[in-house]
Subunit: 211 residues, 2 copies
DNA sequence: AATTTAAATTTCCTATAGGAAACTTTTGTG
DNA sequence: CACAAAAGTTTCCTATAGGAAATTTAAATT
């Protein structure tokens, strides 16, 4: 190894710089480390990974050792070839036990009941506090549209998936839309919204609201 | 070795090639088009976007016009600077009404496919940008745990509901837990996690990740 | 331990991404 | 319409990513 050639392969890799005058700082990310972990976890040699991705052995090696910053194209090939879950790559380097993780399980029909006049809520995963999302199932009674007086409207966003039956979603600014089992909708919850069952029986939906 | 030697600035851009001998084919993706839409939607000039991202005006222009394939670093700066939801970039070009409205509907089985080796993703509601949550359905193949020893791990939180079949959730720090249809789980996604189907056939789950 | 074989890294070179500035196009404004 | 100002594109150049092959390192096999 040349001793004067401290540029590459030493500490300050290309990936680490990434700060320009007033540009947004981009954290190291250690993409290479991650990729190597993934490759090894899949018991692949560079040669095999090369065949899978279409990138040269040398290139893969350099990426893993953070000697180069791959092009977006290369990243695409990598993720496609190795079957990598994309968000995985954008996670900051995992270090230490990160023990502040928690999990919270709710069995079927064992959520926390929370009835209102219009809906029958079953809150899910209520053990965990300060969640970024609030999931709940909801039985939407078969009823007419004119039962409700005003829009529901609140901060954040909402995702809804129809689990059973058929519902009609009313939102401000749009025409009502019918959703059947398996259909889903995402919307800005600040926009007035409400839900009605249009099947004979009550419909059931899953709702997730963000903060 | 280029048989046609596509010149830059012509039509067949670099992004379009991306096929090497035995490499995985990477679809065009039209990243540039996407980015331009986002920039314009935010009422930004190239100059402003340049300040936000730390990339040169010229570079941004070239990326938008698909004259160059940005490096991963550049993509990071872009997403960080413009506040772009990363998975959105990996979603194939959205066509049609380019809904950037306030609601976004996905009919059953009409989400955007996004297969990986381990999971079969179907992204839901991909028309809307910069969502706080990313919902997708996922077919978990019936397979053994030892096919992947590495955890998935990323920022944010995750909610999962089992739609069909039976799965086993492995997470760091906890014992594996079996979830049947209707069961749900919420967890800190920084904690390593992965999923295995324990039913005969593939299982299906709904996943919602937060940012 | 010595030798072979496989895996990973480095070197050298070509192709191409990124930045600065020149140039062109578009959008105002009198 | 003329002209100015702003936004966008292209050119030219430097820095660096990617590929082929050489080199080094690690893992087997005897």
């Amino acid at each position: 190894m040349s001793e004067q050639d401290t540029k590459i392969g030493e500490q300050p890799s290309v990936l680490e710089v990434a700060r320009k005058d007033d540009g947004k700082f981009v954290e190291p990310l250690q993409l290479g480390k991650r990729l190597k972990e993934i490759r090894l976890a899949n018991n692949l040699t560079l040669e095999e990974a090369s065949r899978l991705t279409g990138l040269a052995r040398s290139t893969l090696s350099k990426i893993e050792n953070e000697q180069i910053s791959p092009t977006f194209q290369a990243v695409q090939k990598l993720t496609a070839g190795l079957g990598i879950d994309i968000p995985q790559l954008f996670v900051p380097p995992q270090d230490g036990p990160t023990a502040n993780g928690r999990r919270d399980i709710t069995r079927k029909d064992e959520g926390t009941p929370h009835p209102t006049t219009t809906y029958e809520h079953e809150l899910l995963c209520t053990q965990m506090r300060d969640k970024k999302m609030v999931p709940f199932k909801c039985t939407v009674r078969a009823r007419s549209f004119d039962d409700f007086e005003d829009w529901v409207r609140h901060e954040g966003e909402e995702f809804m998936l129809v689990l059973a039956g058929q519902v009609e979603v009313y939102t401000e600014f749009y025409e009502p839309v019918k959703l059947a089992e398996g259909d889903s909708i995402y919307y800005d919850a600040r926009m007035g919204h409400c839900l009605v069952s249009v099947s004979k029986d009550d419909a059931q939906v899953l709702w997730v609201t963000s903060r």
